[in-house]
């Protein structure tokens, strides 16, 4: 058994944050049916990106703008436990797929909504993408420094938090449904994700000293908590969290004399002479490859790690040994390496059920499953209400 094995989800999402909610749930066993418009999820443009957030799902194409198509969607929804969407407030209502409409068909539906700016307030209907929220919420300036060049985070900060919060909400609603039989409406948003990610500095009180740590070019927070470069040009992170780490690091670097040096004898003194210490350590670290330093430091109990990149991560031995990756055969892209399931459940582990679907790959399959006959399906296709993809023969 997988945690959400008996949960079917009507997935009306596109792009990242919403699609990611369903990806999280699919990873834990939910049967996610992506309902894609005829012109496609715009995120299909980015093949790697699309595969990452849509794996494990099936896909049907229903043209909801066409007369009669709505009923096909309703019939599908009536077999679902949950519906997830992330459109601008108002759009689902236009499609007659909003909570009030869907509740008529399926009174105990769990309806998860994830608009960019939330459903209330003056900006609710504005279009928004993750970096728009990165800019507006303080994440870009917090990293780049006040008045400096803002930093656009490569990790799509809020688009990555949204799926976790949305799937958390979905799980909460499922838990309540298991206990009471009741469905309900739940909402998250990129806005909420931006607040949650900044929960440690989305704070204001009298006398607060705001720590503005961001700088355009920052390698860490102090000489004993930052990155250094090795002779091979690679970098490592070293973090002397405790006094014993500092002493051990000096030993590893052959800088025992620093331990007794009054400029660096205490944490306070080191803070005061941070720049000097950084310069000394920078020179010392430059004498050996970064990876070797990290190992030497770890052996002596000093928290340290190499700074990897995605290329090296894809080949990382620890990842291989511990099953971080899965390998799949994809109909269009051939052999694909991608990350496997993140959480490890001892009794009910999740599973990547299938690679990301082609647009309309499962239209016939799903419509048959929910009770339409072949004749009806052919009629829908002739009227262009639904589209079935031509699936290439697997090599």
């Amino acid at each position: 058994m997988m945690p959400f094995e008996n949960v079917r989800i009507a997935d009306f999402t596109t792009m990242l944050a919403g699609a990611g909610i369903c990806r999280e749930l699919a990873d834990l066993g939910a049967d996610v049916v992506k309902i894609e418009p005829v012109d496609g999820d715009p995120w299909r443009m980015l093949a790697g990106g699309f595969m990452g957030v849509n794996r494990g799902k099936r896909c049907v194409v229903i043209d909801l703008r066409k007369e009669g198509a709505c009923d096909i969607a309703y019939k599908l929804i009536s077999t679902c436990t949950m519906l997830v969407e992330n459109s601008r407030p108002g759009i689902m209502k236009k499609l007659r797929m909003d909570y009030d409409s869907v509740k008529q068909i399926k009174p105990d539906i769990i309806y998860i909504s994830s608009p960019a700016f939330g459903s209330r307030g003056p900006e609710a209907t504005r279009p928004g993408y993750d970096p728009v929220l990165q800019a507006w919420s303080g994440q870009m300036e917090g990293q780049g420094g006040i008045g400096q060049t803002p930093v656009f985070h490569k990790i799509q900060l809020n688009d990555e938090m949204g799926p976790l919060l949305g799937a958390f909400g979905a799980s909460l609603a499922l838990f309540h449904k298991l206990r009471t039989g009741q469905g309900q409406f739940a909402e998250t948003s990129l806005l909420r994700s931006a607040v949650a990610l900044q929960s440690g500095n989305f704070i204001k009180y009298k006398g607060m000293k705001r720590k503005d740590q961001g700088k355009p070019d920052i390698k860490g927070l102090s000489a004993t908590n930052r990155m250094y470069q090795g002779i091979d040009g690679e970098w490592l992170y070293v973090y002397c969290a405790r006094e014993e780490h500092w002493v051990a690091m000096c030993e590893v670097l052959g800088l025992q004399k620093l331990v007794g040096d009054p400029r660096f004898a205490t944490a306070g003194a080191r803070k005061k002479h941070d720049r000097e210490l950084t310069a000394i350590l920078t020179d010392s670290f430059l004498m050996t490859p970064a990876g070797a330093w990290a190992l030497l430091l770890l052996v002596k109990g000093v928290p340290a790690a190499r700074a990897q990149n995605l290329e090296s991560l894809l080949k990382d031995q620890f990842c291989m040994d511990t099953g971080v990756y899965e390998f799949q055969q994809h109909p269009q892209n051939g052999r694909v390496q991608l990350q496997g399931i993140v959480p490890e459940f001892s009794e009910t582990p999740g599973k990547v059920r299938r690679p990301a679907p082609m647009q309309g790959e499962h239209t016939d399959e799903v419509l048959l499953e929910i009770g339409y006959t072949r004749e009806q399906i052919e009629d829908f296709k002739a009227r262009k209400l639904v589209v079935q993809a031509v699936v290439p023969q697997k090599k």
Binding site: P3, F4, G48, F50, G52, V53, F117, R120, G121, P127, Y129, V132, A135, S137, E141, T149, V151, F152, H153, Q156, L164, L165, F168, G169, S171, L172, F175, R179, Q182, Q184, F185, A186, T188, L191, V195, A196, S199, G200, F202, I203, K206, M208, D217, M227, W235, A305, A307, N309, Q317, F318, D321, T322, G334, V336, L338, Q339, V342, F345, S346, E347
Partner: protein
């Protein structure tokens, strides 16, 4: 109606960010959370975020290294539905309160361990500090320059792991509701942060990888500086917005110009630098507020680059109930995060500010049947505080 998790009891051995934040998210959806602190206290007590990540909990200070302290912890574990801990792998086992020990007295327990790299493999003995997870997880290199990595201020691995733990614990509770059985859930912060790269961490023949740098490689999806020195972000996230943008700027010819082929996302080097230079000059002709008004009037996604303190004042943030004012002991009135997930039928609730160390020790021990004299003894022996 109460929260979705009403009646669920959680024992939170968490410290720093990931463990406590997960427990707080669950507490405000209805669970009763007891924070178990060691005599030295949570090392993050001096950090502002502590107030937020520990709201809505009760606190007991317990020395798990003393047999009587462990007994109290196990008595609490026996009555709990969920345990959360984020010590180094193996630490809870060594103390005698690991999953195997708790399972024998409470097979229904959902036991969540959050650690830097999970319990297996060569990295598992590396301390789970956010910085080390981020370094090994490629975060600083991928964000960085061609010549060197860039440190990130937000402790992303910890924050995402907290939300992941809240989600997975709730999933574990859903399973238990159907099977009656608990289980162990391991959350590796390393795996979680890799998950945030999921769209890039895919390898197949033909996968395109663009170097990123601080402002990204995409000329139609990046921050730009305006005439008054202020910055904005233009997010032309699909071809429709690019069309609106070109028309609004009076550059209809862009729509057929081969320079812009593949807009908005697929303009690769060297064309991206050419487009960037063109647009950079255009933005320098008006102030930020002029641009924002103009772009918003044309329905184009745009936002000023501003500070978190300004964001907290935004009517939109307030309208979505995301700023709450709490009286935090010793600090006074504090404006802070609301509840990031909103359920209509079972709304969440902030139950109170972060507890002081050992604030509820006596009360919690009483529920276990300890009498006043015994509690005094335990305090004297340094078992509780």
């Amino acid at each position: 109606m109460g929260g979705a998790l009403s009646g669920i009891k959680i024992l939170d051995f968490g410290q720093y960010i990931a463990g406590p934040f997960a427990a707080q998210l669950l507490a405000e959806q209805g669970a009763d959370v007891i924070k178990v602190e060691r005599p030295g206290g949570d090392p993050y007590r001096h950090v502002d975020g502590f107030m937020v990540w520990n709201r809505s909990k009760k606190a007991i200070t317990l020395d798990l290294k003393k047999p009587e302290g462990l007994k109290i912890a196990l008595d609490l574990a026996k009555q709990s539905d969920v345990i959360i801990e984020n010590f180094k792998p193996g630490m809870m086992d060594k103390l005698g309160a690991g999953y195997e020990a708790v399972k024998t007295i409470n097979p229904r327990i959902v036991y969540c361990s959050i650690s830097g790299f999970g319990p297996r493999g060569s990295y598992s003995n590396i301390a789970g500090y956010d910085q080390l997870v981020s370094a090994l997880g490629s975060v600083y290199t991928e964000q960085g320059f061609a010549t060197h990595p860039l440190y990130l201020v937000l402790p992303l691995a910890s924050l995402y792991s907290a939300a992941a733990a809240a989600l997975d614990i709730t999933a574990g509770l859903c399973v238990r509701e159907q099977t009656g059985k608990g289980q162990k859930i391991d959350i590796s912060m390393f795996r979680v942060i890799l998950g945030t790269f999921r769209q890039f961490l895919v390898d197949f023949e033909g996968m395109f990888r663009a170097p990123w740098g601080p402002t990204g490689p995409m000329p139609l999806y990046r921050p730009y500086q305006c005439k008054d020195g202020k910055w904005l972000f233009t997010g032309l996230g699909n071809p429709k917005f690019f069309t609106l943008f070109a028309l609004a700027l009076g550059h209809d010819e862009w729509l057929t110009d081969p320079l812009f082929e593949g807009a908005p996302f697929l303009i690769f080097p060297p064309r991206n630098a050419q487009v960037m230079a063109m647009i950079k000059d255009i933005y320098l002709t008006k102030t930020r507020d002029e641009w924002i008004k103009m772009l918003r009037d044309n329905e184009i996604p745009v936002a000023p680059v501003q500070a978190v303190a300004e964001f907290m004042e935004e009517p939109q943030v307030i309208a979505n109930d995301l700023v709450k004012t709490l009286k935090q002991p010793g600090v006074g009135m504090v404006k802070e995060m609301g509840i990031p997930i909103e359920l209509m039928l079972t709304p969440g609730k902030i139950k109170g500010p972060a507890p002081l160390p050992g604030q509820h020790t006596k009360e919690i021990l009483r529920t276990l049947g300890y009498r006043a004299a015994q509690i005094k003894e335990l305090k004297k022996a340094g078992v509780v505080r």
